[in-house]
Structures are given as C-alpha cells and as structure tokens.
C-alpha cells in the first residue's frame, strides 16, 4: 500500500457478482454438452431441443420474475405455489370449456393474485410480520380453502386458451416469447422507473429510503402485488398446459422454493437491494439445463432431488466464498 503518492483513481474492479450467473450458466451448458456427447446422445443438441428444454421451465420463470421483485425489497413470498394452484383451478372452473369465459376467468385469476399480494404486502409492511411467516400462513390459508372445494382436476380449459401453452410463433413457442416479454418489461421497470429505483433503495436500507422521502411501505406492498400477479399468470399458464386446474399443481412443482432458488442462483441477494431480472433468467436456464442433464444421463428421480438440493447450496456457497459478502 503506498503512503505518499497521488491518490490515483482506482480502476473499477471486475465485479464478480455481476457476472457470476453468466459464468454458472456457461458451466451448466458445458456440462449439458459434455453429458450429451458422453452418453452418445448428441441428437439432443439441437435448436428444437433447447427450445423444448426452455419450454419446460416457463411456469418457474414467470414465478421467479415475481419472486425477484419481493426478494429485491428484502421480503420473500412462500405463498406462490398455493396461489398457482388456486388460480389454475379458479380459471379452469370459470372457463369450464366455454371460450366466451376466457376473459372473465383470466381477470378473476389476476384479481385473485392482486388481492393475495395486497394482503401479503400489507401484513408484512403494516403489521410487521416476518415475510417468511406471513406468506407461509397465506400459503396454508389458500391451500386449505382450495382443498375444501376441490380434490381433483376441476373444470376444463377450452382449446382457444390452450394456445397460451401450446401455440407457436414460427419456431418459438408462444409462451416462451411471453416469458421473454415479461422479463424485458420487468427489467425496464427495475432499470428505468422511479419505482424500480425505490425498490433497490428499500431493499438496500429501508431507513435510508424513508429518510430520502420514499414511501417504503407502498413499495413493499406493490412488490408483493407484482409477485402474486406473476404467480397468477404462472397458474393460468399451467391450466392452459394441463388443460385443467388441479389443487396440487403448484406444490407438485415446488414453485415456492424453486423460484427462490432460481432468484438466488441468479445473484439476487436474499437480504435485498442487489440483483436483477437477467440473473433470475440465467438461474432459470441453469435449473432447466440441470434437469435436462439428469434426464439424458438417466438419473433416478429421487437422486435428482438430492442433487438439486446439493446444487442450490453449492451455488450459494460459490457466491458467498467468491464475493465474500453476505449472500443468504
């Protein structure tokens, strides 16, 4: 360390955290390619197959975009899985095979998401309930209500609405383009609007945000609304894909924990204030690539579960060690 000498401007250091999701994604992709060759299944390395891989994680991606918003403001949402089931069932029951009921069903599902998010946000910001507990409680409430009314697939989704999940625009599935558009929209909100800037401030330091005159409570509530509306959209997508809604689809997909894992692997800090949408998208890709690797390598489904757990923890540890900051 020099004592005298000019205090020359320090060059901005290579910020590892910023590129880590991309590095991890590159690693996951390399593993995928290697495994495909090693098992003699190079036929999987096609454009169509990559698109198919992506197509399997659309619901997770939509949910994770919403989850990114709440985690950025240092909150969390464990109620997304139950909400996905609830909106899928609600939409499917309202539609009941009638194309004319598509619009009311979609609006009802989105409204349900908005209300759930509003309640989550108000309980967390107004009643100061820890978000883990508040949203876990919400999850139990939703699941309980849902199970009281339906116990199996209920209602039916008309063919017109199945376009959402199965439609194609050229070589691209419609849903994949929708996910991309949603991600771009979310990115733009975070990057260019005052609301986005306020979110980073509230997540970084609620105190500092309030002293700057930011209405922290409102920002928190709005983030929860966005998260729940995203979960509702994911529910609509799954209803379209499965052609009907069932009360277990959300919990079966473990969308609550997986969406959080995807966000964290994408470099958004659980403590809030740092991260972004493209990291989350990278996290989603990493997850789907890992799944595909397991599939082509023929890994047993229980072992798959164990390995996923290991990978999530290892990825977070990777950040913690490399960036030497509190990550999770």
């Amino acid at each position: 360390m020099s004592v005298s000498g000019d205090p020359a401007p320090r060059r901005p250091a290579f910020r590892f955290e910023r590129w880590a999701p991309l590095i991890l994604l590159g690693g996951a992709f390399a593993i995928y390619v290697v495994v495909a060759f090693a098992t003699g299944q190079a036929q999987y390395l096609t454009f169509e197959n990559l698109i198919a891989i992506l197509g399997r994680s659309i619901a997770l991606g939509i949910t994770a975009i919403g989850q990114t918003f709440v985690i950025l403001v240092a909150s969390i949402d464990l109620s997304v899985a139950s909400l996905i089931s609830a909106t899928a069932v609600l939409a499917s029951v309202i539609m009941d095979g009638e194309p004319g009921m598509i619009l009311p069903a979609v609006l009802a599902a989105l409204a349900l998401g908005g209300v759930v998010g509003l309640v989550n946000g108000l309980v967390v910001s107004g009643l100061k309930v820890n978000p883990l507990i508040a949203t876990l409680g919400m999850s139990l409430i939703i699941q309980g209500c849902l199970s009281a009314f339906v116990s199996n697939f209920a209602g039916a989704v008309p063919a017109e609405f199945q376009v959402f999940a199965y439609g194609q625009l050229g070589p691209f599935p419609f849903a994949l383009l929708f996910l991309l558009a949603l991600a771009v929209l979310a990115w733009a909100v975070l990057r260019f609007t005052k609301f986005g800037s306020d979110m980073y401030a509230v997540g970084g330091s609620e105190e500092a945000a309030r002293f700057a005159g930011i209405k922290a409570g409102r920002v928190l509530v709005l983030s929860h609304v966005i998260c729940s509306v995203c979960a509702a959209i994911a529910g609509l997508y799954l209803a379209s894909r499965l052609r009907s809604g069932a009360p277990w689809i959300g919990s079966d997909g473990v969308y609550d924990l997986e969406s959080i894992a995807v966000v964290v692997i994408g470099g958004t800090v659980l403590a809030g204030g740092r991260g972004g949408i493209w990291g989350t998208m990278a996290g989603m890709l990493i997850f789907s690539l890992i799944d595909s690797v397991f599939n082509i390598a023929g890994v047993d489904s229980f072992a798959k579960q164990v390995l996923r757990g290991v990978i999530i923890v290892a990825a977070v540890a990777f950040y913690a060690i490399r960036s030497k900051r509190i990550v999770a």
Partner: protein, 503 residues
C-alpha cells in the same frame, strides 16, 4: 454578523424520568461552523433530533430564517433545507454515486422514466465543489468507495438538495488522518458557500481546525458558549466540569516495568515485515500509524487471526505460534476489537452474559452457565462492580449501555481469563471524554497488576498520552520508536514521512 439561519429558543425536552434538555438556546449563522460539543448523554443528539423533526420539543421554538417551524418528520426538515449527516451513513452501497445523490428525487424524462444522463451530469456538478471530485465517478458503486469519499458523497447529497443547514454528527469517527483532511476541506467548501454547519465532535483538534464558534452542552444545559475558539483546556473544563490534568493516567515508573511478556523477532506475513517488538509486564505500548500501516494486521497476527508465517514469538519466554484466536486466548492473549458493536459484543445478551462470553467458551462442555473453571457469575459481578459499570442491573441488554460501559464489560470479560498480554484496538472510539479517562486509568491499573498492554489508536494525542512507549508503523513495518512524552509532530512525521527516520 449575518442573522442566524437557525434559532432554537428555550428548548426543553423531557423523556420519562430524564430531563434531556432544559431551556437550551442555540443559533447558527450562514457561512459558519458552529461546534456542538458535550459528553455522551449531554443532549447533543436530542437537540439535533428536535431540529430535524425526529422529536418534538416540550417547549421552546425553532426558527428557520426567522420563521417558526414545526417539523414532525425528518423528511419535512430535509425539504426545508436542513440536512443531517448521521454517523451511520444513509448511503446505499449497492447503488451508484449518482443514484444515491438523487435517491427519492430522481430527475425524469418527459415519459416519466428516470433521466440517467441528467442525473449523471448534475451529480458531476454537485461533486465538483469538492477537491475529491476528480476521483468520484458518478457511475461507481458507493460500496467501492473508501469511507472518506463516501462521506464527501453524503455531503454533496446534502448540498444538492439545496440544504442551508448541514449537521454533521462526529463525521471523523471512522476516518484516518489523511481522510480527515479531505473532510475538513469539504467542510471549508460548504462554509465558503454560505451553508450553516453544526459540527458535533469529541475531538479538540477538529474544533481548533474548523469551528468559528463553540457551544458546550452538559447535562442538558448550555455549559459554555464561545464566540471565538478558546484553548482546548477551556472547552474540556466546560464539558467535564474538571481539569484535564488527570485525564491520562500517569505513565509507568521505571520500577513498575518488569520482564518482557511478549517478544517478537523477525515476524512477518503478507502484510507485515521484519517485526521486532517487545512488551514488558506493567508497560503500555502504543502503536501509531496511518490507516493501512499494518497496526491492526500486527494485532491480528499476535491474536492468531492472521498469523505470522515467519519469525519467532515468545510469550513469557516460551516460544509460541498461535494459528487461531482460540489458541492465542489459551496462551494468555486478549484482544479488545476496534468495532465494539460487530466484533466485541453480543448486543442482544445481558451485560453479565457478555462478560462471561470468553470464560464460557473455554469452559468444559459439562460446566454450567453459572460456574466454570475460569470463574462464576458472582466473580463476574465483582469484576463488573470493580469497573464501576453504570447499568440498571447486569441482566440488562448490553446494547442499552453507553460505549464506555460496554468497553468496560469487554475488559471484564478478559480479566476473568487473567491474560498476560492485552491488545486494545481503538479502545475509546465513540466514547465520551469522561469515560475515556476511565478507560485510560483502567488500562493503567491492568498494567500495574502485571499485564503487558499493546494499544492501537488513530487518536494521536491519546496514544502519546497513554503509552509508555510509542511504536510507529508504516507499510507493515515498525519504523520508529518514541518514549513517553513525544510530540505529535515527531510521531506524525515518522508515520507519514520517508522511511528510515527511526529514532
């Protein structure tokens, strides 16, 4: 003289059981630095909180530019042009300088989106007032800047909000000498622009350097008001109500100094080189140097946190090599960390539990929490009593105690381990004058009982006043040694000057 920007008249504030302020009047004029001094608990923060609208006064009035104002939230006072810069920064480390400067009031384009370009330009303009500006890129993340630069950003933020009054609460607490100068220059700039500055500090040197007028608070009342900066003794007398003579404990008499407790020969690691060092029983050795000179690295090497990888260390004549703090503590080394809140204390636990922390850590797994081989609760209470810790009772959470009392509790923790060498890092940081004297006398008492003491402090007068011997470090080496009573200039010169001026 110009009319005051801020006038506070007859401010009285009572909290349940405590009269925090009684009939305090205070004013600040444009373009002056008014130093507000007083011990912790004298009412400085309460006064500022009333000014900024965090608290409401029971009686009295606040006038801003001659008009009475009533703020009920800090946001209102900020909008009226009063910016308070707190000790804990209100900057977001993960956002850029520009984003921080315009937090909550971002300029927008006509589409309602954030106008990043204008934000960057206006940031550059706001920063250009300060000498450090050349080094501050508006696009840098605040977390990547050093503390002094962050403080400049904080000040620039206050200026860019159009603040007419800036309050700084002990702004140099975390700064080294060079960084302090940078901050002083920034304060001068503000004064030059006609901003009224209220500057809260404990350090006499800063008052002499910066203040135009001085107001001393004691026990919630104005103890003295100086329209010109008096000699430091007068301020201290007004603050403490007694003379400075017995502020530092007397140095060790020759017969009080015994055999070497610690000896290091040729010690080094990636941050330290050629360390030769001796600390004798009954002796307080001070380590001076600028930030990054290796003083804390040396402490961490001795404490096993970042061990030496070459050289020899002996403790009471035995060769030792500590690879972990646990080994060092076993060997009889104690360390009082520089950052009390994060490294020294378990804030949510009681005073007594904090005192027992190390003793329990080294107890057998089967011993109870009340009694172990190192001592028991009764013994801890006696140690705490002996140190005259001011607490409602020892079951109280330690975070409710003042910094001085917290520090004493950490000393008590080490005493229960009967260490041979105690390392104090910044022992009086953020502690008021009276408690400082208490800590100095405590250190002297520990030395008299036969411990060797190594003290690191960025407060130069303190090192010189307390230590029997001052070692100066520079670039990971010990470059000079001075006996008790060296002048500040000599030590400063050795700490910042060219190598090889060793005495």
């Amino acid at each position: 003289m110009t009319a005051p920007v801020i006038e506070m008249r007859g401010i009285t504030k009572t909290f349940p059981g405590v009269r925090a302020l009684s009939d305090v009047s205070f004013d600040v004029r444009a373009g002056e630095v008014q130093a507000l001094v007083g011990e912790n608990g004298a009412g400085k923060s309460t006064l500022i909180k009333i000014l900024s609208g965090v608290y409401r006064a029971d009686s009295g009035e606040v006038r801003l530019g001659g008009t009475p104002v009533h703020f009920s939230h800090p946001v209102e006072s900020l909008a009226a042009g009063i910016a308070v810069i707190y000790q804990e920064f209100s900057l977001l480390p993960e956002r850029t300088v520009a984003q921080n400067l315009f937090l909550g009031r971002e300029p927008r384009t006509r589409f309602g989106l954030i106008d990043a370009r204008r934000m960057r330009e206006e940031s550059r303009e706001a920063l250009s007032l300060f000498a450090a500006a050349g080094r501050i890129d508006p696009d840098r993340l605040v977390g990547e800047l050093d503390v002094a630069t962050q403080q400049v950003v904080e000040i620039a933020k206050a200026v860019s909000t159009g603040a007419r009054v800036v309050v700084m609460d002990e702004p140099t607490a975390a700064l080294n000498e060079a960084e302090c100068e940078e901050l002083f220059a920034a304060v001068d700039t503000l004064r030059g622009r006609g901003v009224a500055i209220i500057y809260i500090t404990h350090r006499m040197r800063e008052i002499t350097r910066l203040a135009d007028r001085v107001t001393v608070l004691k026990d919630g009342e104005i103890a003295a008001r100086f329209d010109e900066v008096p000699e430091p003794g007068a301020i201290v007398r007004a603050m403490v109500g007694r003379d400075i003579e017995d502020f530092y404990a007397p140095p060790a008499r020759p017969e009080e100094i015994g055999a070497p407790v610690l000896a290091v020969r040729g010690g080094g690691n990636d941050r330290l080189r050629d360390i030769d060092l001796e600390v004798r029983a009954g002796e307080i050795v001070g380590l001076a140097g600028i930030q990054g000179a290796g003083r804390v690295a040396l402490a961490m090497a001795l404490f096993g946190e970042a061990p030496f990888d070459r050289g020899e260390v002996t403790l009471d004549g035995e060769t030792v090599s500590f690879r972990t703090p646990r080994a060092a503590i076993r060997g009889g080394v104690g360390l009082l960390p520089g950052d009390r809140k994060s490294e020294g204390l378990v804030l949510m636990q009681s005073v007594r539990d904090n005192g027992m922390l190390t003793s329990r850590a080294f107890a057998s797994p089967l011993s109870s929490h009340r009694r172990n081989a190192n001592g028991d609760l009764g013994g801890m209470d006696r140690l705490l009593d002996g140190m005259e810790i001011r607490a409602a009772n020892y079951d109280q959470d330690i975070r409710a105690l003042s910094g001085g009392n917290q520090q004493k509790a950490i000393v008590a923790r080490w005493l229960s381990m009967r260490p041979r060498l105690l390392i104090f890092i910044e022992p009086t940081r953020g502690i008021d004058v009276n408690s400082k004297a208490g800590i100095y006398h405590l250190m002297r008492d520990l030395a008299r009982e036969g411990a060797g003491i190594l003290m690191i402090s960025s407060d130069l007068p303190e090192v010189i006043g307390v230590a029997d011997r001052v070692l100066v470090m520079q670039e990971g080496r010990i470059v000079a040694e001075f006996p008790h009573g060296a002048s500040e200039q000599e030590v400063m010169h050795a700490a910042t000057g060219e190598r090889g001026v060793a005495a």
